[in-house]
Amino acid sequence: MSVNTAHLNQLPVRLRNFFARYPPQTYSSLVASRQAPPEAEASAEKTLPSPYTPDRDAKGAHKPNRDAYSAARALLYSDPKSPNPFLPKKIFSTGKWLGPKFGLRQQADLVKLAAKYNVEALLPPGPKSTEYKSARLAERGLAIKGTGIGQKVKGHKWERTMEARLEDRRKAMVEMPEMIRLWKQRGHGRGWRQWPKR
């Protein structure tokens, strides 16, 4: 493994202890991403969920498919030989789940500390990592209607019609001198035919 650990001695004790217990050569997300199963990549495009489904709360709406490939979840890789301390583990003999060695709060602390010292990549992949968070955000989009790819924010009606109205007004003002000339010519409205409708 080519993970450079020379500068690790300058890190805070908490990070140093962590890296001593979980050496980046085995556990870091750099290593994990190389070991991640490659077959998942193929179907990434097809199964990517739409960022926002307007009718997701509607009756009979499909629930999100938990088995579908998720690029974000693929980041959370745990080698069975050296289990990721940031992820829960299933014990197959008993069928029970063992919680992660580090809870989410501790993980978040570690990630923030590591990010401060530019060594976040040396931590194991976990749900608090910047990479995971950005991948999940890209997948889900903001939970705001219209912010996904190829979507528009609906906005207020005055916002949606503003362009057309300004265009109408501009045209009307261009034609105004001619209209006034005609109006004067036709006896200041005596011969006028096209009265506007209310």
Binding site: R169, A172, M173, M176, I180, P196, K197, R198
Partner: protein, 60 residues
């Protein structure tokens, strides 16, 4: 019983022809021809033509 008589005057709406939605309300005799005049439209900040809007779409 006698019919209720119509009033001699009516209130009419003069719409700005600058298509700004701005209008002025005026009172004119019922039998008068429709009103039209040049007036200031504060939306376009100019004097523009105002024409009386017909309620039913018909005008004299």
């Amino acid at each position: 019983m006698a019919k209720k008589s119509k009033s001699r005057t009516i209130a009419v709406r003069l719409i700005s022809m600058a298509m700004t939605g701005y209008y002025r309300t005026m009172i004119r005799p019922r039998v008068h021809r429709p009103l039209s005049m040049l007036k200031y439209d504060p939306v376009v900040k100019k004097q523009v033509l105002f024409l009386e809007a017909t309620k039913g779409g018909k005008a004299k």
